[in-house]
């Protein structure tokens, strides 16, 4: 079973990631078991899927947090995708899910983000990291979570900016 980094440890990935289909996203057939599905599929099939507890959703970088903001806490897992590591929209989406919509479940980075983004992602509220690249060395990558231990800005992990904490 593939692994991922969660809350600073390397653990089994028990959720299946469902990619966007070639065709109609609304008509995607959602398999049984713990699955993370595209937000478009969720929105289209909400009526039938909402009884399932084993549904997670993922937002692509051009999907707004608002799409699921109000109901975020019904999901155990929400994914934020990085189609390319340079596409930084999901940093904002992650913060919005945590700070504006109060999401408390697993917030998982998925896709092509890189190890060197882990610290900033953690600061934006992401607590799980499923690298698309299967060759990523997770033991090494986990070290980058702590690239910084002190910060100027307020963010999810440290809600007070340095100027409110400075002795």
């Amino acid at each position: 079973m593939p692994k991922l980094i969660k809350d600073g440890s390397i653990v089994e990935n028990t959720w299946i990631f469902i990619a966007k289909p070639e065709g109609d996203i609304a008509a995607l057939e959602v398999p049984a078991g713990q699955v993370i599905i595209p937000v478009g599929t969720w929105l289209a099939q909400k009526e039938t899927l909402q009884t399932r507890a084993d549904i997670g959703v993922w937002l692509d970088s051009d999907d707004s947090a608002e799409l699921i903001g109000a109901e975020a806490n019904r999901f155990a897992v929400i994914g934020v995708n990085f189609p390319l590591f340079m596409d930084g929209r999901s940093f904002s989406t992650a913060r919005l899910l945590r700070e504006r919509y109060g999401f408390t479940g697993e917030l998982r980075a998925v896709g092509n983000f890189i190890r060197d983004q882990l610290c900033y992602l953690r600061r934006c509220g992401v607590n799980a990291f499923a690298f698309a690249n299967p060759e990523t060395n997770l033991e090494d990558a986990v070290k980058s979570l702590q690239d910084f231990q002190e910060y100027y800005q307020a963010s999810v992990d440290q809600p007070l900016p340095l100027f409110r904490r400075r002795a």
Partner: protein
């Protein structure tokens, strides 16, 4: 100026450790070049035509003599004995060895300097007025706000992978010397009618391929809301700015696509969620920041007595009087003056400075200006707090070191990017054009008679030489593999900001000095007594200039 405390130092050390690790992984082949690219850029490291280029931030242009000596040491020990003052008040080294960059950054950190976010798609070094704190026309000193922005923007976790680079400039004077209307965000510190401090906020200005003058989206933002409002703008940009085409990714394109009204509304909506959060500035923090920019230990000086001394010295020396006229400015404190050391003598690439010259500047700063200096976006160095009675002494020392060319603000005080001699983006060389024009205008009396003329040269449309806002702007273009130069007239980076108009077909390098001479001739023939070049151009338009320059030879 701002002094790093244990927090600033520890954050900077963590950054250097991070970058050292990244460099090692790159050199070991564990970090692919395309992933290392944005990481090295965000630490100031470019890979250029001939060698890497390392850009070191000078936050809003403020630098002290200890830092200048460190820059000299880096130039001597790690580079070829010189560096370059950029058009955004930063310092650039052209020949560092990639493997030594972490060591260079570590040495710089010893004096509170770094290359963090001096490049890449992130929030860049905030720029400001080189006469901040000393200009007689200043309303409020912008530097405490610049420092507050520096801290907020450094290592911001949400905004390190923006659609494109992002530049903020702040001015606090009546006359804008920071060109705030050609920045992604321009802030003008103002008082409202109740006497409270705040900002007029411009967005969407910029040069580059699509030059645009910024639009004001808020006429008064209370000072305590500075960071929450900036965060709202950046979030809207990060989420909605275009990412499909790097040439359409700057915030100016988004502002134009949405219309300024809709953009402003989106920012307003986002800000409503953020404005009462923990980013709201406290009185304590604003006062703490202001505490770093208090007046130095000025002496009480009788200004008219001091001026009499200077006047007598000037009467004895024409050269000194010329220098006073061009390179010395009024100061808000009686008996003091602000001096600009020219880095534009003919024959030296504009903004270039050697290791030993840096050390001389450090000594001059210690002797004459409370150990501080400022870099300017016109690529010169300012000693901001010089006693008038010391001007003659300073002038002699500056002259001996080659910094006393009395050309500040004139046609030979050229803003110029490194161009095709160094930069891999450039279409054409820019430094030799600057030199040829300086040689054309080698008669100082003639140059003085021309008055203030901003002549700006960029080697490509990325516009690092700010050619769009030069009274005369020159742009290097490539035509079938040959270098040509397009001329623009009528730009301005001041309060009356405007973009230059293209004159017509481009010229060869050899023609450029004559072309500029003809433009100046048209001005001389048409000007009224009070008019500067830009005024005459605005009054008579492009036609007479075109006629002269493109006239068929008889």
């Amino acid at each position: 100026m701002y002094i790093y405390d244990e927090y600033d130092n520890s954050i900077l050390r963590q950054r250097i450790a991070q970058f050292r690790g990244q460099t090692e992984r790159f050199l070991a082949g564990e970090l692919p070049p395309e992933q290392f690219l944005p990481l090295r850029l965000q630490n100031g490291l470019y890979v250029q035509r001939l060698a890497p280029m390392l850009r070191i931030n000078v936050p809003y242009g403020m630098i002290n003599s200890t830092q200048i000596r460190k820059l000299a040491h880096i130039a001597r020990f790690y580079d070829k004995g010189y560096c370059h003052v950029s058009t955004r008040q930063n310092i650039q080294y052209n020949w560092p060895d990639l493997t030594e960059v972490p060591d260079i950054l570590s040495e710089l950190a010893d004096v509170g300097m770094h290359g963090t976010q001096s490049s890449g798609n992130c929030i860049r070094n905030t720029t400001s007025d080189q006469f901040a704190g000393v200009a007689p026309d200043e309303i409020i000193d912008p530097r405490p706000y610049c420092e507050i922005i520096r801290q907020w923007s450094s290592f911001h976790p949400e905004f390190a992978f923006l659609p494109r680079k992002f530049k903020i400039a702040v001015t606090g004077s009546t006359r804008d010397r920071a060109a705030v209307q050609v920045h992604d965000i321009g802030l003008q510190v103002v008082f409202n009618d109740k006497g409270e401090v705040g900002f007029k906020v411009f967005v969407g200005g910029g040069l580059g391929r699509t030059p645009v003058i910024g639009v004001a989206i808020r006429n008064f933002l209370p000072e305590e809301d500075l960071l929450s409002y900036l965060e709202a703008i950046l979030r809207v940009y990060n989420l909605y700015g275009r990412r499909d085409n790097k040439y359409k990714a700057r915030i100016k394109i988004l502002v134009r696509a949405l219309t300024p009204e809709v953009f402003a509304q989106k920012v307003e909506d986002e800000w409503q969620h953020l404005k009462d959060g923990s980013n709201k500035l406290t009185r304590t923090e604003i006062e703490r920041a202001k505490g770093f920019f208090t007046a130095p230990a000025y002496e009480t000086i009788d200004n008219s007595a001091a001026q009499a001394v200077v006047d007598a010295q000037a009467a004895d020396s024409v050269a000194f009087s010329k220098w006073l006229q061009r390179n010395v400015r009024e100061h808000k404190i009686p008996g003091y003056a602000a001096v600009t050391l020219s880095l534009k003598p003919t024959g030296v690439a504009p903004g270039d400075i050697t290791d030993s010259q840096l050390e001389i500047i450090a000594n001059l700063a210690d002797e004459f200006s409370f150990s501080e200096a400022r870099t300017t976006h016109e690529q010169n160095i300012v000693l901001a707090d010089v006693k008038k009675t010391e001007l003659f002494n300073l002038w002699q020392k500056a002259k001996a070191a080659g910094f006393a060319t009395p050309n500040i603000g004139t046609i030979t005080d050229i803003i110029c990017c490194p161009g095709g001699d160094f930069c891999s983006l450039a279409n054409a060389k820019s430094i030799p054009i600057a030199e040829a024009i300086q040689r054309q205008f080698d008669d100082l009396d003639y140059v003085y008679d021309l008055g203030d003329i901003d002549l700006n040269i960029s080697g490509c449309m990325n516009a690092c030489g700010h050619h769009h806002v030069g009274h005369i702007g020159i742009l290097g273009v490539d035509k079938a593999g040959k270098e040509f130069y397009q001329v623009q007239l009528g730009g301005s980076a001041s309060n009356d900001a405007s973009l230059g108009d293209v004159l017509g077909p481009s010229f060869s390098a050899e023609d450029m000095p004559t072309v500029i001479q003809k433009l100046v001739d048209v001005y001389l023939v048409n000007r009224t007594q009070e008019e500067l070049f830009i005024d005459t151009y605005r009054r008579i338009g492009a036609a007479p200039f075109k006629e002269k320059v493109y006239a068929k030879a008889n």
